[in-house]
Subunit: 98 residues, 2 copies
């Protein structure tokens, strides 16, 4: 049928899946906006963002406006990996809705 | 946007997601067929099936034909939970494909 092993483990974990989905909907997100939307603790959000960053899926941008600000966005690699992941989700939905 | 917490953890784990998807496509599956399709070890498959069974998602049927045979199928609760889970996957795909 299809290869569940191709489900990217880095993306599939629930917290990280939430982060990747949000990042796919907007060019960039602040830490606070991600935290509010996902209802994750600071610790979990930091850990998940670090994992995604280390795998090259998420870029971290630091700016100084009125105060130092950090924002997160998908890298090209992250965007492509997420689209590939969604393709597998579509296959699962198609198979499961028979 | 949507509530990632509603992603059923019992289903979301990769091995169990594979099992639930296969069980949704056919009335029942033998252990060997599941194992061949999912390329899981006996130990992992047994553990995942037990978790799904204990949560009321999978029924276990034992029959004696030429030899004792065990087959697995979705319960009504399992089928409904999986359909609810697929609904969230559809939302993720829709959001992620923007």
């Amino acid at each position: 049928m299809f290869d569940f092993d191709k489900l990217d483990k880095i993306i599939h974990e629930k917290g990280r899946l939430g982060i990747m989905t949000l990042l796919a909907t907007r060019p960039s997100w602040s830490f606070q906006d991600l935290k509010a939307e996902l209802e994750l603790s600071d610790g979990n959000l930091i850990t998940h963002l670090r994992t995604l960053h280390e795998h090259g899926y998420v870029a971290v941008t630091k700016e100084v406006r009125d105060r130092p600000q950090t924002s997160y966005s998908l890298t090209d690699k992250g965007r492509q990996s997420f689209q590939d992941y969604l393709t597998i989700l579509e296959q699962i939905v198609k198979a499961g809705r028979r």
